[in-house]
C-alpha cells in the first residue's frame, strides 16, 4: 500500500464513494446503483440516487477534500502540528455570518434559501482577512501573530454567535440545523456553488507543494533559497481560505478531519508536501465519506451530525495509527 500511495488512495476513495451511494435508509445494491445511474432503475431508486445520495456524496467528498487539503497546507504554513483549517477563524466567522443572516426572515425562494450559506461564506472570508490584517507587522505577517489573532477573533466571533442565537429563539432550530449539518439539503445547487472555489483553492495548493517544503526550513532560509516567502504565504492562505470557506458554508462546521487526515497521510506516506497535499485531499474525501455513512446507519432512520462521528470514530483510529507507526521526527 505504501509503495503506491496514489493508487491506494484512489482505490479507498472509490470504495468510500460506492459505500456512500449504496447505504442509507433504503439499501441500494450495486446492480440498482448502476441501473439507476444509466436511467434504468425504479422510480424510487432513481429519485433517491440522483436527488439525495449523489449530491450528498459529492458534497461530502468535496468538503472532505477541502478540509484535508487545507489542513495539510496550514500545518505546513504554520509549521505547527496542531494547525487545522479553522485555526485562524474560518469556522467561527462562517458560523457568525450564518447566524446573523438567520435573524432576517428570508422569503421562501431560491435566494432566501441561499442567503445562509452565502453569508457564511462571506463571514468566513471577512474574518480571515480581518485576522490577517490584525496580525500584520509591516510587510510580513508572523506566524505567531496570525495564530494568536486567529484564536482571539475566533473566540470573539463564537461568543457573538451564541449571543445572537440566544436573542433570536425563533430561528434557533434553523441555526442549530445549519451548524450541525450545513446546507446539504439544497442538493446540486450547493455542489455547483462550492465547486469553483474548491477547484481554484485546492488546485493552487497542489501546485505549492514544493514551496511548502522549502518553507519548512524557516522563513529566512526559505527566502535565501529564492522563495518569495510573504507572497507564497499569502497565496496559500487565500487558497486554503477559499476552499475551506466554501466547504463550511455548505456542509457546516465539521471538525477533526482537517487536523487528522494530513497527519495520517504523513505517517503513511511521508512528509513531502508535493505528495502530502494531494494525498490529504483524497484522504479527506475518503475519511469524511466513511464518517457520513456511519452517521447515517448508526441510529437509522435517524441521522447523526457527521461532525460527531468524525471525532468519535476518528480520534481512536488516529491514535491506533500513531501507536502502530511509532515513527519519530516527522516534524
Amino acid at each position: 500500500m505504501r509503495r503506491y500511495p496514489f493508487l491506494s488512495s484512489f482505490l479507498l476513495l472509490a470504495l468510500a464513494l460506492l459505500l456512500s451511494l449504496a447505504i442509507g435508509s433504503v439499501f441500494l445494491p450495486l446492480r440498482d446503483i448502476f441501473a439507476s445511474l444509466q436511467g434504468n432503475g425504479s422510480d424510487l431508486a432513481e429519485n433517491i440516487l440522483w436527488k439525495i445520495r449523489l449530491p450528498r456524496t459529492v458534497l461530502i467528498a468535496l468538503t472532505g477534500m477541502a478540509l484535508g487539503g487545507s489542513g495539510a497546507a496550514y500545518q505546513g504554513l504554520f509549521r505547527n502540528p496542531l494547525a487545522d483549517p479553522y485555526l485562524i477563524g474560518i469556522a467561527s466567522g462562517a458560523g457568525l455570518g450564518a447566524v446573523v443572516s438567520m435573524t432576517v426572515q428570508w422569503s421562501y425562494s431560491f435566494w432566501g434559501l441561499m442567503a445562509i450559506p452565502l453569508s457564511a461564506f462571506v463571514g468566513a472570508l471577512l474574518t480571515v482577512t480581518f485576522v490577517y490584517f490584525l496580525a500584520r507587522v509591516g510587510q510580513t505577517a508572523p506566524v505567531t501573530n496570525l495564530i494568536l489573532a486567529g484564536v482571539a477573533v475566533s473566540s470573539f466571533a463564537t461568543s457573538l454567535m451564541s449571543f445572537i442565537m440566544l436573542r433570536s429563539d425563533g430561528e434557533l432550530r434553523r441555526a442549530m440545523s445549519w451548524l450541525m449539518g450545513g446546507a446539504i439539503q439544497l442538493g446540486w445547487t450547493s455542489v455547483l456553488a462550492m465547486l469553483p472555489y474548491l477547484i481554484l483553492g485546492l488546485g493552487t495548493l497542489s501546485l505549492h507543494g514544493h514551496a511548502l517544503n522549502v518553507l519548512q526550513f524557516g522563513d529566512e532560509q526559505a527566502q535565501q533559497l529564492g522563495l518569495n516567502v510573504q507572497r507564497t504565504k499569502q497565496v496559500i492562505l487565500v487558497a486554503s481560505s477559499l476552499a475551506t470557506a466554501a466547504a463550511v458554508a455548505f456542509a457546516g462546521i465539521i471538525g477533526f478531519v482537517g487536523l487528522v487526515v494530513p497527519h495520517i497521510m504523513r505517517l503513511w506516506f511521508g512528509g513531502d508536501y508535493r505528495r502530502l497535499i494531494p494525498l490529504s485531499i483524497l484522504g479527506g474525501a475518503t475519511a469524511l465519506l466513511v464518517s457520513d455513512v456511519i452517521a447515517r446507519v448508526v441510529l437509522a432512520p435517524q441521522e447523526l451530525p457527521v461532525g460527531i462521528v468524525t471525532a468519535l470514530a476518528g480520534a481512536p483510529f488516529f491514535l491506533w495509527i500513531l501507536r502502530r507507526t511509532k515513527t519519530q521526527g516527522l516534524w
Binding site: 429519485n47 449571543f163 440545523s177 432512520p301 451530525p305
Partner: protein, 331 residues
C-alpha cells in the same frame, strides 16, 4: 473609560457564550416568539365541488394543492402527529418523526428519524406519502428538499391564539377528509376554552407563577418569557407569569429575580427529565420561597404547552386546576 466598557462588554459576551446552548428539543419548547412567526396560516377557499382539487396557502406562503384528501401522510413534528390522530385520521398516517409519542398509537407508525433537526428524506420518500406535514420546528431548507423530490409538503405555522388552533383543526379535517370530525373537535375545544375563560372571569386574586422549563442550572433556570403560548395560557388560567419581565421568549431567569418576585406557585415542566418536587427545597436559596414553604410546587407536562397541538386545551385546563382549584370544583 472606553477601554473599560469594552472589556466589560467582552466579558459579558464571553460569559453568555459559555452558557449551555439550548439544543435539546425535549427541553426547549418550539413555540417561537410572536414577532418571529412567519405569515399566518390561512386555508384558502374550499373546493367548489367534491372532486375538485384542494388548494391551501401554507406558513411559508407556498401554494399547496391536494388532488384529494391525503391517504398517506407523513408528519415531521410531534404536534402534527397529534393533530392527525385528533381528527380521527390516524389510519392515514404512514410515517412520523422520532419524537412523536402521543397518542400511544403513534408508536405503531413507522419513524422517519429526525432528532437533530435533520429529517431523513430517503426514509420519507420510501413511504411514498401523498402529503408531508412540516411545522416550525422544521426548516425551510428541509421543505425545499422534500419539495424537490416531488413530494407535496405543507408547512404549518404555530398557532398564536386558540382561535388559530381551531382553524388548524379544521384545516386538518380538509387535509384528511375528516371535515365533520374536525369541526366537532374544534367546537368542543372552543367550548372547553370558553368554560375556563368564564370561570376565570370572576377571579380577582391572580397568583404569580414561575414556570420552569429546564432547571439543570438551578441558579438560572430556563423559563418562558413574554409572548409565548405558555405565557398566554398562564394569564388565561388566571395567573401571572413572573417570566413576563424577561426580554426573550425563552431565557434563563436569575434565581435572585425569582426570590424578589416570590411566586405563589412553582410549575415544573422538567419533571420528565429528572427534576423532582422534593429537590426544589434543597436548591440554594429556594427554601425560603413562599411557594416552597406552602408546598405549592406542581409537576406540569411541558408537552401540553410546548407542542402546538389540540392538547394546548388540556394544558389550559391543567393550569386552571393548579392555579384555581376552587373554580374546578364548582364546575
Amino acid at each position: 473609560m472606553f477601554r473599560k466598557t469594552l472589556v466589560l462588554t467582552l466579558l459579558i459576551a464571553l460569559l453568555i457564550g459559555c452558557a449551555p446552548a439550548p439544543s435539546s428539543e425535549g427541553t426547549l419548547p418550539t413555540t417561537p416568539a410572536v414577532d418571529s412567526a412567519p405569515t399566518e396560516v390561512a386555508a384558502t377557499e374550499a373546493p367548489t365541488d367534491e372532486a375538485a382539487a384542494l388548494t391551501f396557502t401554507d406558513g411559508l406562503g407556498r401554494e399547496v394543492t391536494l388532488a384529494a384528501p391525503a391517504q398517506r401522510i407523513v408528519t415531521l413534528a410531534p404536534s402534527l402527529t397529534e393533530f392527525v390522530f385528533a381528527v380521527g385520521a390516524g389510519e392515514q398516517l404512514v410515517g412520523r418523526d422520532e419524537l412523536s409519542d402521543y397518542p400511544a398509537e403513534a408508536a405503531d407508525v413507522a419513524s422517519i428519524g429526525s432528532t437533530f433537526g435533520a429529517v431523513n428524506s430517503e426514509a420519507i420518500l420510501a413511504l411514498e406519502p401523498d402529503l408531508v406535514l412540516a411545522a416550525e420546528i422544521n426548516t425551510p431548507e428541509q421543505v425545499q428538499e422534500l419539495e424537490s423530490l416531488g413530494l407535496t409538503v405543507y408547512y404549518l405555522s404555530n398557532p398564536l391564539t386558540y382561535d388559530e388552533l381551531y382553524e388548524q383543526v379544521n384545516l386538518f379535517g380538509q387535509f384528511t377528509g375528516h371535515e365533520e370530525e374536525a369541526a366537532a373537535l374544534a367546537e368542543s375545544l372552543a367550548a372547553r376554552v370558553e368554560a375556563v375563560e368564564s370561570a376565570v372571569a370572576t377571579v380577582t386574586e391572580k397568583p404569580t407563577v414561575f414556570y420552569e422549563i429546564d432547571g439543570t442550572d438551578p441558579a438560572k433556570p430556563w423559563t418562558t418569557g413574554p409572548g409565548t403560548f405558555m405565557d398566554t395560557m398562564i394569564s388565561m388560567a388566571g395567573g401571572v407569569n413572573i417570566g413576563g419581565v424577561l426580554s426573550d421568549s425563552f431565557a434563563q431567569i436569575s434565581v435572585e429575580e425569582i426570590a424578589a418576585q416570590d411566586p405563589n406557585i412553582i410549575l415544573l415542566g422538567d419533571t420528565l427529565y429528572g427534576v423532582t418536587i422534593e429537590s426544589i427545597a434543597e436548591r440554594a436559596g429556594w427554601a425560603d420561597l413562599t411557594a416552597v414553604k406552602e408546598g405549592r410546587i406542581f409537576a406540569f407536562d411541558d408537552n401540553l404547552a410546548s407542542r402546538p397541538s389540540p392538547r394546548l386545551v388540556d394544558g389550559l385546563e391543567e393550569l386552571l386546576k393548579v392555579l384555581h382549584p376552587e373554580l374546578v370544583v364548582s364546575q
